[in-house]
């Protein structure tokens, strides 16, 4: 009897709800990133900005789930993981398209960003990738130093709000650098783009510590990139049949 009830609940849960995003905690304490990122900025960034993106995305998905337009297709899309929803923005009606691009993008980007940060190393020079990831960076950019220089320059020069990304390009299968405006994510442009590392360049990401001095934030960012995590993300990338 109990088993039947449990199975019924599971069945109802599977069929009857849209994706509901939750707020993953930071992998470390709010203070752990000091002095590169202060406890105060981490609380604001995680508990306010990230939280708001999550709430707004959930609200849009909830509305989409009960929307009968497009012969039930909206309901189906609303049940997908957020990464999949963001690859299908172009089919969504206006009222959901921007809401999900902005807030769903904001959710995904921040979930990713917080997962690749760690306590700062004493210096920038001592914090580097190794193994396959380093080899792939060298293949695309010549040396790690050159990559560092290009990534930093792109970050300092980005105008307005946006991100700079290191990702495996869907078409060439090589690591590339690119920027996106606002909360756009590379998968929005090709579902097979595979993000490996990124930096948040919205002013809220650095203003409480660095004020207008974005270059100083970018310089210090290299001390908090968790190359172990990033290396693992790279290793776990889907391997194309053509590579085998």
């Amino acid at each position: 009897m109990l088993a039947a009830i449990v199975l019924a609940v599971i069945a109802i849960g599977c069929v009857h709800s849209q994706t509901e995003l939750t707020l993953p905690p930071l992998p470390y304490d709010y203070k752990a990133y000091e002095p590169v990122l202060s406890e105060k900025i981490m609380r604001l960034h995680h508990d306010k900005h990230f939280f708001t993106y999550m709430n707004k995305t959930n609200a849009a998905l909830k509305a989409m789930f009960v929307d009968t337009k497009m012969d039930g297709k909206l309901k189906e899309i609303a049940k997908l993981p957020i990464e999949d929803i963001l690859t299908q923005l172009q089919v969504l009606p206006d009222q959901y398209h921007l809401a999900l691009r902005h807030n769903g993008g904001g959710y995904l980007n921040h979930r990713f960003f917080f997962s690749i940060l760690k306590a700062p190393t004493a210096t920038v020079a001592e914090n580097k990738p190794t193994g396959d990831l380093l080899a792939a960076i060298e293949k695309s950019f010549g040396t790690f130093e050159k990559f560092h220089e290009l990534f930093s320059a792109a970050s300092v020069n980005l105008f307005g709000s946006g991100w700079v990304w290191l990702y495996v390009d869907a078409r060439t299968n090589q690591l590339v650098l690119n920027f996106t405006a606002n909360q756009d994510h590379p998968i929005m442009f090709d579902k097979n783009n595979y993000v490996v590392m990124g930096i948040d360049l919205w002013e809220h990401s650095y203003y409480p510590v660095y004020e207008n001095r974005r270059a100083e934030y970018v310089d210090n960012f290299w001390r908090i990139v968790d190359w172990n995590v990033v290396g693992k993300i790279f290793t776990e990338r889907p391997i194309k049949r053509s590579d085998l």
């Binding site: 306010k48 946006g162 002013e203 207008n212």
Partner: protein, 265 residues
């Protein structure tokens, strides 16, 4: 007589290099807008952000002037006011358009913004426009309160960095509002739009005081608008929107081509 004035303008343009923008002083002390905008925020916003736009715009204008590929017309354009350059942005080569929209726009927008602010009133409700500007707002939006609601709502909806603007529309001659991303300004879309008032929605404009709470910033913004000054801009703007002015400025653009003083530079 008019033709002589035009030729004089041309000769003067020939001798001068590109315009050099200077950092306009705040029309009030840094702490004058407390508690709505703190002294520290005003110092950052004016001395750092506006300074950066000033320096960046000047670098671009100099580069455009020094560029051996720049036509005489283009060089002549660099000597005009920043308002003129930005309202004719489509004449610029693409490589300069992007940068000037960013840094030239940043310069113009902040110069205007700071000039339209004043010491806060105790409440938002007591701070209102009067006279012809109020009539124009009522004509375009039904009432000042409706205008305030729309402007506030749009300000909260703007995603990323940008502005919300109140301007005199070139075609209707009536007031209109628009939102712009990054440092865009209505004059970049039509040289005859007259920008009257804007709210800076880049995070740097409010973060040191309001952190993520943009709605609190927007609510308090209504306490610091200098309506008498904005009214003045409105009156001047309405007077400016005549066909004669268009001919005059177009003349300057056409005649700086083939300027003999630039030969060999």
């Amino acid at each position: 007589m008019f033709i002589r004035i035009c030729f004089l303008a041309i000769i003067i343009s020939c001798i001068q290099a590109q315009i050099e923008l200077t950092l306009p002083a705040l029309p009030y002390a840094y702490d004058a807008l407390e508690p709505v905008l703190s002294e520290h925020l005003m110092q950052l916003h004016h001395d750092k952000h506006l300074q950066t736009y000033t320096t960046g715009a000047n670098k671009l204008l100099k580069r455009m002037y020094d560029d051996e590929n720049s036509s005489n017309e283009l060089k002549g354009l660099t000597n005009q006011s920043i308002e003129f350059i930005l309202s004719h942005i489509q004449y610029l080569p693409e490589i300069y358009q992007v940068g000037l929209k960013q840094y030239g726009g940043g310069y113009l927008n902040h110069k205007l913004f700071f000039s339209t602010l004043q010491k806060p009133t105790a409440t938002a409700d007591e701070n209102k426009p009067t006279g012809p500007l109020l009539k124009a707002i009522e004509k375009a939006f039904d009432s000042f309160d409706k205008f305030k609601q729309i402007f506030t709502d749009v300000s909260l909806e703007v995603f990323g960095s940008g502005w919300v603007w109140l301007y005199i529309d070139a075609y209707t001659k009536e007031l209109n509002y628009s939102f712009a991303s990054n440092q865009e300004n209505p004059i970049m879309f039509n040289k005859n739009h007259i920008t009257l008032l804007g709210i800076d929605l880049w995070e740097h404009a409010y973060y040191p005081v309001y952190e993520n709470r943009r709605s609190e910033y927007v609510d308090n913004f209504w306490r610091i608008i200098n309506w008498p000054f904005v009214s003045q801009l409105y009156t001047e703007g309405v007077a400016k929107q005549t066909d004669d002015i268009d001919k005059e400025t177009d003349g300057i653009v056409k005649h700086t081509g083939g300027c003999p003083m630039h030969a060999g530079i």
